[in-house]
Amino acid sequence: MKFTHYALVSTLVILFSVLELSGQEEKLNYGNTTDELVPYGRFQKAHKNFFDDNQLFTGAGREKVPPTDLTEVRIGLLGPLEGSILSPQGNQMLQGAILAMEEANKKGGYNGIPFRILPHNDVGLWGAAANEVVKMNDEKVWAFIGTIDDINTHVALRVALKLELPMVNTGDPDPTLTETRIPWMIRCIADDRQSSYALVNYVYRQKGHSRIAVLRANNRYGRVGIMEFRDAALRYGYPLVLEIRYNDGETSFTTQIERMIKSSPDAVVLWGNAKETALILNQMREMGMDQPVYGCDRLMSPVFLEIAGKEAEGVVTTCQYNPTLDIPNLIAFNRNYEKRFGLEPDVFAAHAYDGMNIIIDAIRIAGLNRALMRDVMTDMKTFQGYQGVTGEIIFDASWNDIGSIWMTEVRDGKFEFFPPPPLTSEVSMTIKQ
C-alpha cells in the first residue's frame, strides 16, 4: 500500500514536471518570439530585457477637470492624405475612422456631444508630422490616429509624448515604433515582426526553401520591414543570398533582376508597395525567373493584382487581418463601408475603424481627460482581447498588437486567406547565463 502510494505520487510528480517543461517550451518570448528566434538566444542571455513590463506614466494630469462648454469632441487623424504615394491608403484610413465616428454619433456621441475628426496631412514640409501634431494639440483634440509612414509615425509619437496626447497607430507596422517605451501610444495592427515570423516560418520550414533573395524598397519601410525577416532567416540558419533595393517610382528593374538571377535563389521575397512589386514580378517572369515569390502585406492590394495580372498567381503574402471571415461585426463593417464610400475597405480602413472605436470607447469610459484616457487604453485590461473587425487585439507589454496574423495566396486572380502554420523551435537552446 505504502509502495503503491509512493509510486503514484512519484508518477504524478514526473508527469507534472513533464507537463511543466512542455508548457515552458510553448511559452513565447517578447513579440511572440520563439526561443530559436530570440536575438543571440543560442549564445547569451541578455543583460536586460526592455519589454518585460509596461512603462507607467507617472506625470500629472489625471486631476484635470473636463471642460463643460464643448460643442464637439475632437479627435485628430494624421495620415498621408495628399501628395504621397500612400495617399490611397491614407484616405482609406480616414474613411475607416469617419465610419466609426459617424456610427458613434448616431448613438449620441459622447453624452450628446458629437465626435468630430480633424484630419491632418503628414506630407509636406520636412518633418511635417511633428508640426501637424502640435497643430492638433492647439486645436484641442483629445487623441489622434496616425499614421502609415514609419518616419512620420515616429516623429508624431515623440511629439505626442511631449504634449501628453493619446495616440493610436493603425497603419504603421514598423516593429521599432512600440519599442520606444513611450506610454502614450498603442498600436492595433500587427507589426512586421509578426509578419516576418509567419513568412520566414512558411518560406523555410513549410516550403523548404533555403536560398532567398530579397528585393525591397529603398526607404525606411523596406529597410526596417525586412529587418526581422532577415534576422529570423539567419537564426534559422539561412542567411539571405541577396538583399538589394529599388526606389519608389522606378519602373525598370533589369539591373536588380540580373543580380538576383546571378545569386541563384530558389525563391524571392519582395518588400515594398503594390505597384513597384507588381512591376518587378512581371519583369522577373519576362527575364526568365520562375521562382516562387513571397511578399509583405502591401502586396495584398487590388493594385498588385491589376498590374501583375496572371503573373500574380501563386504569390504568397502576409496580411494583418482576414477580411473574408464570417464575423458579424466584420460583415457589417464591409457592407457599411462600401455603402458609405463606394469601395471595398482595405487593411488601413479596417484598422482605423477599430482604432477610432477604441478612442471613442476610451473617452466614454474615462471621460475627457487625456491622462485617464491613456490609462484605460494602456491598462492591459479594458482593451485587451478587444474584438474588432480586424479580429482579436492582443497587446503585449509595449502595447503592440500581437494578435493573429494571416497569410494569403493568389488563386484564380483573388487573394485566398489562410492562417500561418504555427511557429516552432527546431533546436534546443542552451543559453549561457
Binding site: F57, A60, A130, V159
Partner: protein, 369 residues
Amino acid sequence: MNNLSRIFHKAIKVLSAILLTIYLTGSSFVEKDIFPEAGSMPVYGNWETFTRKDGLPADKAYCVRMDGDRVLVGTSAGLAVYENDEWRTYTVEDGLAHPGVLSIDVSELTGDVWIGTLGGLNRWSAGRFETFTQFNSGLANDVIYSVICDGKDVWVATGGGAGHYNTYTREWGIYTERNAPMHEPWTYGVCAGDKKIFIAAWGGGVIEYNTETEHFRDYIDPDGEMEIDLFADDGVVHDITTGVSHADGILWVATYFGLSRYDGAHWKGYFDHDSGLISNFINFLKADGPVVYLCTDLGLCGFNGETWVTYQRNENDKKGKILITNGSETKKLVASTSISHNFVIGVDFQGDEIWLATSKGVCRGERVK
C-alpha cells in the same frame, strides 16, 4: 507699552534667529544626517514649489534655465521669468513662436536667450523676440526639443534633424540621416564639450560632431537590438536616446531604457535593476563637474559615478523622500520639504541652488551644507 514692544521685538528676533538657524541647517530633521552616506555628492533641501497659484502660466514645466539673478522657465503656456521674487510671463502676444517652450539656453557671448518651442526657435535679445521657423530660416523642423549656445554657434535638436546657426554669418546647417551618420532624421538633445557637439538622435544613438575637423562619428548600441541590452557596459544602452550632457571629460547619455556614461574610452551602463538609478525612463539630464542630474519619471537622481542621491515626493503626506545609494546599500530618509512632482522634466543649477521643471510646477532647492 515700550517694554511690551521691546519684549515683542525681542521675541520676534529670537524666533527669527531660530527659524534662520533651522533654515540654514536644512530646516528639516533629516538633511543634516545625510552627509556621511552622500560623501562628496551635494545634497539639496528646503524645496520650494511654484505653480500657477504663484504666477506661473501653467503647472506643466518643460525646462528651466538659471541665468544670474533670474530663472527662465519653459512651460506649456509660455515663458516664465522669475526675478526679484516675482514671476513674469511671455507668450505668443509678446513674440514667442509658440506657447509650448521646450528648451532654453543663454549665450555667454551676448546674453541673448535662445528659446526652443513647439512652433519654432526664438532669440530674445534686448527685449525683442526674433522668430526662426522652417519658413524663414534653415531650421529642419519647427519642434525644437533642445537648443544650446556654443560660442557664436547655436545648435538645435529638432523633430526633423539637428541644426546649426552661425550667429556671425547667419548661415544655417541641417544634419539628418542624409549627411550625417544618424540612421534616422529626428533628434532630441544636443550638448557641447571638448570642442565637440553631441547629438542625441532618436534611434541613432549619439552623434559626435568635431567642430575642428568637421567630422562625424556615431555611438550606437553594439547589440543592434531594440528589445535587449545584450552585454553590460558595451556601449550606449539603447539607440533611442533622449538627452546628452558633457562635463569633466565625461559624456552622459539619457534614454528611456537606462543611463550611459562614456569617459572617452569605456562605456558604463546603469539600469534600475543593477544600480541606484531610480527609473530607466530619463526625460533629461545635465552634468556639472563629476555629477550628473537625471530627470526621471520617478524623481530626480544625482550621481557622481559612485553615489546616487534621489529626491522624491511622497504624494500621501507631501513630504520629501531621499534615497542615498552606495553599491547595494540604500539609505532612505524623510525630509520635511519635497520636490514639486516626481515626473521631472528639466533641471538646472547655479551656485548652491537647483531648479527643477516638473509635470506639476517648478521647484527650487538649496544645497544643504
